[in-house]
């Protein structure tokens, strides 16, 4: 090993539900420090929820993250309904699954095009691509717009959804709106084919580390995003009620995001974890894409999370078309439309209770947990964010990766570390932001 000295101190802003730092310190070829820390300005959402009506929780918690606001909404709604003893109808569940598909599609497309594509094409952002790959940028924005329109039709807007609430939907899509969604989705197929062709050319770094993958599983035939148990590739399976036994959150003072661990030092959630646990349940079109790009479970290369996202894009597109086809055939029951507010007319039952929501959002499994008092006000709240669950895992990946790339130039090392962080898609800004890396040779 070379006796080089490296100090990487990325001291600024890579948002991972906040701000993150990469700190690397190599002295005479020996690694002294290799950390990924989150130093976000805390927003105290769990604290702020206390005393608010559980019916407002969806509105408030969707504001945790603009990119997966629909996912937060749905986790929040599930926790609220669980606490109050409200059982959603089959139609409501179908529409919620549809919403999750739209958001996953939207988020993955953004990640693949705006984050990964620039790295793969050797530029710093999509801006230079405007001149060199104008069609690619236009396609990305077109697909993004499609997803946005789909959410707009279904829930009023994507950031932050309006009509999905505890109790159901305040507005249900009309027949012509179902047709519009179907048309948009069918129209996206051509762009998706080209997207798969482009992504199939991406050369991902070769790197592996054995870790535990955690995702939702179910005994049904569906690739589960909503309504299932939580399982791991180490053979753990638990009900969502026991989520605390899975996440085992702990605080590290260097990081304002809490850390998590289960059977090992760390675990990973997200598209790759879902793929590793549920690949056999993917839509046949998605399975074909996985085969084409050579993605097989259990895959232990974190860089291939992006490849798993591509596979999920195809799955979500095709399954959304199938869900809408079913709804169109059966017709919607418009009597299910609800008007809730903060339930001031007590149209829905209210009780003291505790409820957990577990939803597979684009970046992995998300938990919301609320305790309510007899009036339906929140007494205690807990949210476990996918990105937080991945931080310890990212850090251990970095520790294994660094010695393997230590012979490379500082610039190459930095890029390898950045691309690793981005692969987890911690959040759009993190992923696309060039970490301010400083080298100080001593």
């Amino acid at each position: 090993m070379s006796k080089k000295n490296i100090t990487i101190k990325s001291e600024y802003i890579t948002r991972v539900e906040g701000h993150g730092n990469i700190v690397v310190n190599v002295k005479e070829g020996r690694i002294e420090k290799c950390e990924f820390n989150v130093v976000e300005s805390p927003r105290f959402f769990e604290g702020m929820l206390r005393g608010r009506s559980v019916f407002e929780a969806q509105h408030i918690t969707s504001r945790i993250c603009g990119i997966c606001s629909c996912g937060h909404s749905l986790a929040s709604i599930e926790a609220a309904e669980d606490a109050l003893g409200i059982v959603p109808t089959g139609q409501t569940l179908q529409l919620r699954k549809l919403l999750l598909h739209f958001e996953t599609l939207d988020s993955h497309i953004l990640h693949i095009y705006l984050l990964v594509a620039p790295d793969m094409l050797g530029v710093k952002s999509f801006v230079p691509l405007l001149t060199t790959h104008n069609k690619v940028v236009r396609r990305a924005l077109r697909m993004k717009k499609d997803c946005n329109e789909l959410c707009e039709i279904l829930v009023g807007r994507h950031v932050h959804p309006i009509s999905c609430v505890a109790g159901g939907f305040t507005k249900l899509p009309g027949e012509h709106e179902i047709d519009r969604m179907l048309n948009i989705l069918r129209g996206m197929r051509a762009d998706m084919t080209v997207t798969v062709d482009l992504a199939a050319t991406f050369k991902f770094p070769e790197f592996e580390r054995d870790t535990e993958y955690i995702a939702m599983v179910s005994d049904g035939p569906e690739y589960p995003f909503l309504g299932g148990d939580i399982a791991s590739t180490d053979g753990v399976r638990m009900s969502k009620k026991d989520y605390r036994k899975i996440t085992n959150e702990y605080v590290d003072p260097r990081s304002s995001a809490k850390f998590t661990r289960l059977s090992r030092e760390s675990y990973a959630v997200g598209a790759l974890a879902r793929f590793n646990l549920n690949a056999d349940k993917l839509h046949p079109e998605a399975k074909a894409v996985a085969e084409r790009i050579g993605l097989k479970p259990v895959c232990r290369n974190p860089y291939l999370n992006t490849a798993a996202q591509l596979v999920e894009c195809v799955h979500c597109l095709e399954d959304a078309i199938a869900i809408l086809g079913g709804l169109k055939k059966r017709g919607l029951n418009y009597d299910e439309q609800v008007l809730v507010g903060v339930n001031e007319r007590n149209t829905l039952p209210v009780r003291a209770g505790e409820g957990v929501g577990a939803v597979e959002v684009p970046r992995g499994i998300l938990f919301h947990d609320y305790q309510t008092d007899a009036r339906g006000a929140i007494v205690n709240a807990n949210c476990v964010i996918p990105t937080n669950q991945n931080i310890a895992n990212i850090q251990l990946d970095m520790k294994k990766l660094l010695p393997e790339v230590l012979h490379k130039t500082e610039e190459e090392i930095t890029l390898a570390l950045e691309m690793l962080v981005r692969a987890y898609d911690p959040c759009i800004s993190c992923s696309t932001h060039y970490l301010d890396v400083k080298y100080i040779n001593r």
Partner: protein, 255 residues
């Protein structure tokens, strides 16, 4: 003529307002033709060392670090824009101000809370001079485009100062009070096209209060629909909590 140099920044927020730009789709490319985006962390790796013609800042000031950052951005910018509810009014971050800061810190982080110092949430204008304000949570794309046009032409933009009810009536919605839910529309600034009520939800007040709310009319509504002051006060806290600081500031100036 050289294109104006534009930069985007975020303080404490969900970054949903910046995402709204991407949600404009290919229309974003038309906007990009008119400006030179020199810094935009959410989608760009490039950085700019010079000054900005226009800085759009999303999020609220919630700690000393973000205050320093904002002041530095102000110092480098000809025009500073409060971009979205968190920047304009404090947004949902303001709810934190209803709690004792040490207590809420302990609640979320336990014994380690001292590692994460926090301060009362403030919208940008309580810290620096703001030239343009884009309200709404998240920024409403039609208004966002409108404000950008005003900025590029050097014209002032006035946020509508009449209630959401005006737009809601144009959209022929049945009043939420008639339908059994308390709505913040009567006291909230319009400009959103009554988007939430069009989708059968209530107005939560994300655009902030009108400057001169009709208090008597509001009292009549509350009496007619049997709504308690506590319910409205609680709703007011969600997006308007930071106004309290303004009242204090005004009082101090007065003395």
């Amino acid at each position: 003529m050289t294109k104006p140099k534009i930069a985007f920044f975020d303080l404490s927020c969900c970054e949903g307002c910046q995402l709204q730009l991407a949600n404009m789709g290919e229309l974003l490319l038309d906007v990009l033709e008119l400006v030179d985006v020199v810094e935009f962390r959410e989608v760009m790796s490039e950085k700019w060392e010079g000054n900005f013609d226009v800085a759009l800042v999303e999020g609220s000031v919630t700690d000393d670090h973000s205050e320093e950052r904002l002041k530095a951005i102000r110092g480098r910018s000809k025009v500073l824009v409060a971009f979205g509810a968190c920047a304009a009014t404090g947004g949902v971050n303001g709810m934190k101000n209803s709690f004792d800061l040490e207590e809420i810190g302990k609640y979320v982080y336990g014994a380690d809370h001292k590692s994460f110092p926090t301060r009362k949430t403030r919208p940008l204008h309580q810290v620096v001079k703001v030239d343009y304000t884009i309200n709404n949570c998240p920024a409403y794309i039609p208004e966002l485009v409108e404000v950008l046009k005003h900025i590029l032409k050097g014209l002032p933009y006035a946020v509508p100062d009449y209630p959401v009810c005006v737009e809601c009536k144009f959209n022929e919605n049945v009043c939420m009070y008639e339908r059994g839910a308390a709505c913040m529309g009567p006291v909230t600034r319009a400009g959103c096209g009554s988007q939430c009520i069009n989708n059968n939800n209530i107005c939560y007040g994300c655009r902030g209060m009108v400057s001169n709310p009709r208090e008597n009319a509001a009292r009549d509504i509350m009496a007619k629909y049997n709504i308690t002051p506590e319910l409205i006060a609680k709703k007011m806290e969600m997006y308007n909590k930071c106004r309290e600081e303004e009242k204090n500031v005004k009082k101090e100036h007065h003395h």
